[in-house]
Symmetry: C2
Subunit: 167 residues, 2 copies
């Protein structure tokens, strides 16, 4: 550790375990705030976070397959299936049998699914927007850099793939 003295990155010496611990706690409390608003909306409609995640990623990658979604979300098919079944039954998501490969189901949001997704993401965006406004663009850049550096390499790749396909 001490071999960093006078050799570069000296600032890092100021990050004590206790300071890192506060970072951990900040992450915990911030994530709770981050999910609080959509949770309220979901609760009213009888859905949970699992439904939110499915809606989010179907919105982001329309026509994605069940298997794709599975690996993005990192849950089992049984778990995802329960959620998808209710979303399809209640007309928020549509599953189209693939044309090239008929085993696949391509997932899309229906208008009412898109409407709920919009409501959910809007409250979340609003919280983020107001946080961003409070701290300024320089802090936001730092925020995004740290978040990305904290992801597992697999997720980070996936995250960046999705980012590219959009720009």
């Amino acid at each position: 550790m001490n071999d960093q003295i006078g050799r570069g990155r000296p600032q890092l010496l100021f990050l004590t375990d206790e300071q890192l611990r506060k970072g951990i706690e900040a992450m915990y409390f911030a994530y709770r705030g981050f999910t609080a608003d959509p949770d309220r909306i979901l609760d009213q409609r009888g859905y949970g976070r699992a439904h939110h995640r499915a809606l989010h990623f179907i919105h982001q990658s329309p026509g994605t397959t069940v298997n794709n979604l599975l690996s993005t979300l990192g849950v089992t098919k049984q778990s995802l299936n329960r959620v998808l079944r209710t979303l399809i039954e209640e007309g928020l998501v549509e599953a189209q049998v693939g044309t090239r490969d008929k085993r696949e189901r391509h997932l899309h949001l229906t208008p009412s699914g898109a409407a709920l997704e919009r409501d959910l993401s809007e409250v979340q965006r609003e919280r983020m927007r107001s946080a961003y406004r409070e701290v300024g663009p320089e802090a936001v850049r730092g925020f995004r850099m740290v978040l990305e550096a904290m992801m597992d390499p697999d997720m980070r790749r996936q995250f960046n793939r999705m980012k590219e396909s959009e720009e």
Copy 2:
């Protein structure tokens, strides 16, 4: 919205809904990374995230009461009680009946509880340390600012109270 042009904070005009959406996603993936390491340790020992949270906050505020912990964690007392019971039964946490008010239980980590807490927080700190190293101290400052700005006001107060009592 447009009234901001030429009046300050013009940068914020570049934060489109899609960019905010990517921020949301980054938060989701980063949180998964953030919990992945301790989850593995917990799993081996047959505990869950709820146990981790209890250990963390008892470590941070030794002698805290069940009620205190309740409001910090934002769960019902029944839910916390189940977790506390197993931690006490297995000798990781000690509950001392209050001397002034015998209704209260003051919670402390035993040596083995402190050891597990250290293991859990160490892997989490290590992830954070390496992310911080990757992006540099300026980005870290921004990260912390955004996290704090995203918390609900109540949690933010609590977070800052705990921060003070330490410095």
